[in-house]
């Protein structure tokens, strides 16, 4: 192909193609597309509680439980000054006193792992099912 020589078919093709008008889809084409788009946007809605919110919620809960344990055992009997002074000592003491049999620890850990796996697996299974249904 030589670019310098004008192809006689160039102008012929231009004229020919201009004779063709664009084809039209059905009258409700736009509606059909928009209903699918709206359906998609509802499907992709964010969850009510986001991951960040869950994290903040869990951290707050952990702090409350931790403080609650300390307050229950210290503040009620000795006042806030005692808590401020001995809080770290109390926490260490609590960890040292934490004695569980190895069987019980294994059972608790195993049940925890099973629960977590179940939750992840079930969540994926349900979301797949939901997606195919909608």
């Amino acid at each position: 192909m030589n670019n310098n020589i004008p192809d006689p078919l160039d102008s012929w093709t231009r004229q020919t193609i201009k004779k063709v008008t664009l084809e039209k889809p059905s009258a409700d084409f736009n509606q059909k597309v928009m209903s699918k788009v709206l359906n998609l946007s509802t499907k992709s809605n964010k969850p009510l509680i986001s991951n960040t919110l869950w994290l903040i919620f869990s951290a707050t809960l952990a702090i409350i439980i931790y403080l609650g344990t300390l307050l229950k055992t210290t503040d009620l009997f000795f006042g806030a000054n005692f808590t401020n002074k001995y809080i770290s000592r109390w926490a260490l003491q609590l960890l040292n006193d934490w004695n569980l049999s190895s069987t019980l620890t294994s059972i608790v850990v195993s049940i925890g792992i099973i629960l977590i796996v179940q939750i992840i697996y079930l969540k994926q299974w349900h979301s797949k099912k939901w997606n195919t249904l909608t």
Partner: protein, 191 residues
Amino acid sequence: MEREIEKIYIRRILEGDIEVFSLLVSKYQNLVFTICSRVFDNKEEAEDIAQESFIKCYQSLKQFKGESKFSSWLYTITYNTCMNHLKYKKRQTSVEDIANVADQDIIEQDHIFAKLEQKEQTNLIQQALSKLELDEQMIIQLYYYEELPIKEISNILSLKIENIKIKLFRSRKKLFNILSLHSQCSTLIYE
């Protein structure tokens, strides 16, 4: 100007004003449908694929950076969607490449073509276009109908500029040959 308006539309859609997307659908639905219907003979199938192209466009709207025209980006999506569907439906063209075309041939072809009615001419051109390969159709459509520059077409089809030029050259000849064959048959039928 048109490009700026489309950018505003896209920004509004991304901000959550989904209804604005229907303006883009209205504007480009004929073009997208035409591309699809040239590839797929069944009108319902063509319409489904045109819809799918728009849905894909909506889903990946965040990725549109505005560096190219929106229309070019939409053509790319439509082309890729058609290509994906074509993988399952291999088409065969019966017309063999590509006899050289002399000026006299073009005059004769115009003469034969002029005998046909306008509607018949349009039908024949559409049929002839649908016999081309998808990338050839796209090149012809974008270059002659949309009047896009070759560089932009090469971006849309992810082909080198030289490759586009060669394909354009070959597509013109192929189209001419197909149309000659079809219109000769048609005039014989009418006479």
